[in-house]
Symmetry: C2
Subunit: 198 residues, 2 copies
């Protein structure tokens, strides 16, 4: 096959991205090739700035441009309410709801004995340290609803219960717009158990 | 919503790419953020090199690093056989089959009176000029099998027929591995008409 070397290289690099196969990578590369120089440099600069300008917040380990993230610096947010999530992308997901006005703590994953990830690999020590310096009343556990997330939630709940007034976990149940017919048994079972009084 | 500015900008730039929505863009941006500096600069450089190192072949308008593309420069290829395609990506698709050993001509699209694309917007003048300088025996039309592709094929066939011995078009029929049950009527109808003697 005779394909120009720079194109092959771009396809190879693009196909390393998650969810991008060789066909998509080729389409993206050919798109870039056709794009205006200005648009390509905008894209490239935005990627480079991601690496140079963004770091992790020294307090909650969310993404931050400076030492602290915008959420930690925002004095209008409820500093007594702390939401524990797995990844910085989860902070974005919760922020999009506009339902939460507290602060966060990103632990950076879940406990996974099989993969050798123990409590010391997550930002749990740093979490406990926050209870010494901050006045936190409620801890909301918002980890994923899979096995590792559940196990880590239970572990964290036991750990922080003595330190705060309330430890809660976000609800599990039928997704909004979700069809009962297409929901799995575990979700329906949980939704039944956690039913609300009207 | 309080998301760090560089992340927002990267998501915006990435979601301008074809087939990349905001959710995918966010996943890609967060992946880049987590990647090693070295991997990011490899990706970025490959994209920049696409724009700086690749041009269009002055003869066939395929992608080329120099004045001529690798296919036009390859003396082992059959110079009497020319395959007309719409885009450079079609050259890649055909090259991958390893079934073709001739040369190409990329016309850069299809005729489309509704979008105001006439013969002068495609590389048709350049194609006709090649017949003066080169000894071409067969023209293979390998345009897409949609309405515009068909119309452009017929237009080109009429144009080049007086100039060469043979004008052919790649076969239309049931795709390999294709199920008769799931093929559309037009494809089955064409496959019946173009049936081969065994």
């Amino acid at each position: 096959m005779q394909i120009a070397e720079p194109l092959l290289r771009a396809i190879e690099e693009l196909s390393k991205l998650p969810g991008i196969g060789r066909k998509t990578a080729q389409r993206l590369a050919l798109h870039v090739l056709k794009s205006k120089d200005e648009d390509v440099s905008k894209l490239v600069n935005s990627l480079l700035e991601l690496k140079t300008k963004l770091h992790y917040c020294s307090k909650c380990f969310n993404l931050a441009e400076g030492d602290l993230c915008e959420i930690c610096m925002n004095t209008k947010r409820d500093q007594k309410l702390i939401c524990i999530v797995e990844e910085a992308s989860d902070v974005i997901a919760i922020e999009k709801t506009n339902e939460y006005n507290g602060i966060y703590h990103v632990i950076g994953g879940t406990l996974s004995p099989l993969s050798g990830i123990g409590p010391e690999d997550l930002k749990i020590k740093e979490l406990l340290k926050r209870f010494e310096n901050e006045t936190i009343e409620e801890v909301i556990l918002a980890l994923n609803a899979d096995t590792e997330g559940e196990a880590t939630s239970l572990y964290l709940a036991r750990l922080v219960k003595p330190l705060v007034t309330r430890v809660t976990r976000i609800a599990r149940g039928l997704p909004i717009g979700g069809d009962l017919e297409f929901a799995d048994e575990a979700t329906i079972g949980r939704a039944m158990l956690s039913r609300n009084l009207l």
